[in-house]
């Protein structure tokens, strides 16, 4: 059992929320948008600083309205009002919720109408990788209530702003990464044949919490003789045995920011084919690290990593991408995909996630978390071992 790591400060200066909001308002002005409303936790928190686990309950909708100037307006259930005292939000409007016959729709309608009189254009998150956290019937009703207004998608604007992290955000992500790295190191000394996948994950879960994670909402594993066939299910009660390869992929969370990377462990002995696959994927990460830099694209990063895997005889990759943005959500825009045209900028936090099917039904996937710097990129945590570690 290790000592807790020293965490960075919690929360953010109010000036940081002001800067985030001003960036959005600047883009709104350019596109002739009067106001934007948000309904999902990450965006609500990003612009308001309101952080609560209460979003776990799906009963009540919560709305944040960002007008063209000044501070956002919270349109929230009464139960949440006290939670805004410490935020930079001043105008908090509430209704007694749950009230299924009108759960915030009339109050949101009034608020949006009030602040959208210049262009009659209202922004919302409508595009890829988003959803509206409100009943679809209520969104229809909102649009009916506001027929003289246009609703336009702002997901592209918002993802652009959110993808470049501040130094305070980066420190939180880095800490979440260090905690996960500590958990993987711990497993190196505590895994043994005969444990189940579930026991292995539980041991790591406890260790990450002890090291300082607030929570570990994502902690999956897969295993099999000489390889595994998926990276999104598990952990199961499958017992780890000699000849197995185990992957654990985790997203630890600190102060609302995620890490997201994995590690592979061999048990007793590892087939030469699997060890070769491990080393090829490790070299693929090298290629990613050498490519990821300001001015390069997500497609460049994908191509650099894939070339190595192709040369190593990859049969395919059904993950659909080899890494993605990371921050307030376990996965964020952009994705490292073939032909990806998103230009990397300093301050972006990404995962490099090279992976391949190296034999029928057998995958090898690595993942690391990086920060794009002025000159290239840097790892946010200790890197994977260059050869697959053998347990026992």
């Amino acid at each position: 059992m290790n000592n807790p790591l020293i965490p960075p400060p919690r929360g953010f200066e109010h000036s940081e929320f002001e800067q985030r909001t001003q960036k959005l308002q600047h883009e709104m002005e350019k596109q002739g948008i009067d106001a934007v409303f948000f309904s999902t936790e990450p965006e609500f928190r990003y612009f308001s600083g309101f952080k609560s686990q209460f979003w776990e309950s799906p009963t009540r909708p919560w709305f944040l309205v960002v007008p063209s100037q000044g501070v956002p307006i919270a349109v929230v259930p009464e139960i949440g009002v006290a939670g805004f005292e410490l935020t930079w939000i001043e105008d908090v409007r509430s209704w007694p919720s749950p009230r299924p016959e009108d759960d915030g729709v009339s109050l949101l309608t009034e608020t949006l109408a009030e602040v959208s009189q210049r262009f009659l254009r209202i922004g919302a998150m409508l595009g890829p990788e988003t959803h509206l956290r409100m009943p679809a019937d209520n969104f229809s009703l909102l649009k009916e209530n506001l027929t003289k207004f246009d609703f336009v998608d702002v997901s592209e604007i918002v993802r652009g702003i959110r993808s470049v992290k501040s130094s305070a955000e980066i420190e939180k992500i880095r800490f979440a990464c260090e905690v996960a790295a500590g958990g993987f190191e711990y497993l190196l000394n505590h895994l043994q044949a005969g444990m189940t996948e579930r026991e292995a994950c539980k041991a790591m879960h406890l260790e990450m919490l002890r090291l300082g994670a607030d929570s570990c909402p994502y902690l999956i594993s897969a295993s099999g003789q000489g390889g595994y066939d998926n990276i999104i299910m598990g952990p199961t009660d499958r017992k780890l045995d000699e000849g197995d390869i185990l992957i654990i992929d985790t997203g630890a969370n600190f102060e609302g920011y995620f890490s997201d990377f994995d590690r592979n462990y061999g048990f007793g002995r590892v087939d030469a084919q699997a060890q070769r696959a491990y080393e090829a994927v490790y070299q693929s990460t090298d290629a990613g690290l050498n490519t990821a830099a300001p001015g390069r694209t997500t497609g460049d990063v994908w191509q650099a990593m894939w070339s190595v895997l192709e040369d190593a005889g990859a049969l395919g990759n059904d993950v659909g991408r080899m890494g993605h943005g990371l921050g307030m959500q376990l996965t964020e825009w952009p994705s490292n995909v073939p032909g990806g045209d998103v230009i990397l900028q300093a301050g972006m936090v990404l995962t490099l996630e090279p992976g391949m099917t190296f034999a029928p039904g057998k995958m090898m996937v690595h993942e690391e978390n990086i920060l794009i710097t002025d000159n290239g990129c840097e790892m946010l945590h200790q890197r994977a071992w260059p050869t697959m570690p053998i347990i026992g």
Copy 2:
């Protein structure tokens, strides 16, 4: 540190998914609905048995289509296909995702058109306490693709089916409750003045995981001299001191099923006013336990609990309800509200959550988890202490 509790079996028999699906298909037939599609994790899991933490990533949409007869059809990203091997789903259709220009919309369109030729009516979750987990623009596109079909809300049907739990579901919830009760007992012996709220919650988090919880996605606290002013924020770094009252409210999770209840602790000494409030709220729970039974309504339960609080001088309650359904989500339909007309049935799992503001800025909230039985109700875990426990 306690020994782990003995958990009930994981997963469900395939026949249980079949029965759930048939109940839905029976209601669909009555309402002339050809097919229903789901996009959110609880419904997807409820009808398919597909359980994965991968939903934590917002990038890819997942769809389950329930036709009028037979087994549901999965319409999912390629990365998920291997996860269906152990489910009762046979027809798994996939696309390479992420593919923002068509992330499942054309495949979902084809699938729905194929199975909706009789009434041309498609059901979806559009009503209260739901959302669609897909980009709003994609839902618009789906409706454009299927203009000759009507889209109708099935949230009322689905919540009706889901609200009555099977014995296998109840055992999972009961276990999640026992783990949380064990965590609260542990705190009784391990809390001390000088700890922060965050340290108290972390100690309980670790203990619940050791006892057998898979995760604890909800673990909040609030504290203050003689009372607290909210129940949805925290934990903070506030140090617990003599004269404080601490509330912790947690949702432990086992195999995808939640508990959701709280406990209050006094530090050193407790004001007589707060102790009286504690006892009044305890008696309010008694009234709820004596009322909750098949044939009674959620309004009856609310009224029974509120009468006690009113007599005790309650200044108000800004939680908006005094308990709710519980199961695959931390909070589920129905709510115990004034005038609530939902008739309780055996097999429903509810929380009783009486609470009041007993002095300006000071709340007292209790919560317990119950099962509606043939004759009344039963607690799913050890009950709160009849007087507020004093730490130190």
